[in-house]
Assembly symmetry: C2
Homo-oligomer: 104 residues x 2
């Protein structure tokens, strides 16, 4: 399995509308990706390692796919629509990473 991590950086003046993200953006992504999407999780950053320190990212999203090929085949046709929705919930640009999920 591969995981696509979408990480919205924290910083002065950064905004993130979690209600819109969870109720509108993620359902749209889920509907467009269909059965290629094997799992999705969303997290709200609350702190760094030290209690009370700022979280490096305002929000994290993890999307699971069978393979890089399955991700690209399902995601690429909708990438423009997904990106066009970003300004509706944040003024940040996400850091995106593709990772291989290991057995531990």
């Amino acid at each position: 399995m591969i995981m696509v991590s979408v990480m919205y950086p924290n910083g002065e003046g950064s905004t993130f509308d979690m209600a819109y993200y969870c109720k509108t953006h993620i359902p749209m992504v889920r509907q467009k990706l269909g059965t290629a999407l094997k799992g999705v999780s969303v997290e709200r950053g609350i702190a760094g390692e030290a209690p009370g320190s700022p979280a490096p990212y305002l929000a994290l999203c993890h999307l699971l796919f069978e393979s890089v090929e399955a991700f690209q085949a399902s995601f690429t046709p909708h990438a423009q629509q997904f990106e066009a929705d970003i300004p509706n919930y944040t003024n940040t640009q996400p850091t995106i990473q593709i990772s291989e999920v290991l057995q531990v």
Copy 2:
């Protein structure tokens, strides 16, 4: 539930021994945290968003706990031992984030 994300940054000269991490470090963490640790996943960074672009992080680790308090109570007594093991598998310093896992 809360998720503690431990993210090892990629960069020129950065190293990460995934075999040591999965076979020695994570089992040690799992044993020390005991039942407070509700789940763990490890990912190896393979790319950024664009095919062939470098992954922002060499490795990601996600640890699940019931609450921030459960994380701190189980983690803090062993934090020094966990940190002392880091040079055994990487020359990087991880970015750490505590997040709230949302229902989507």
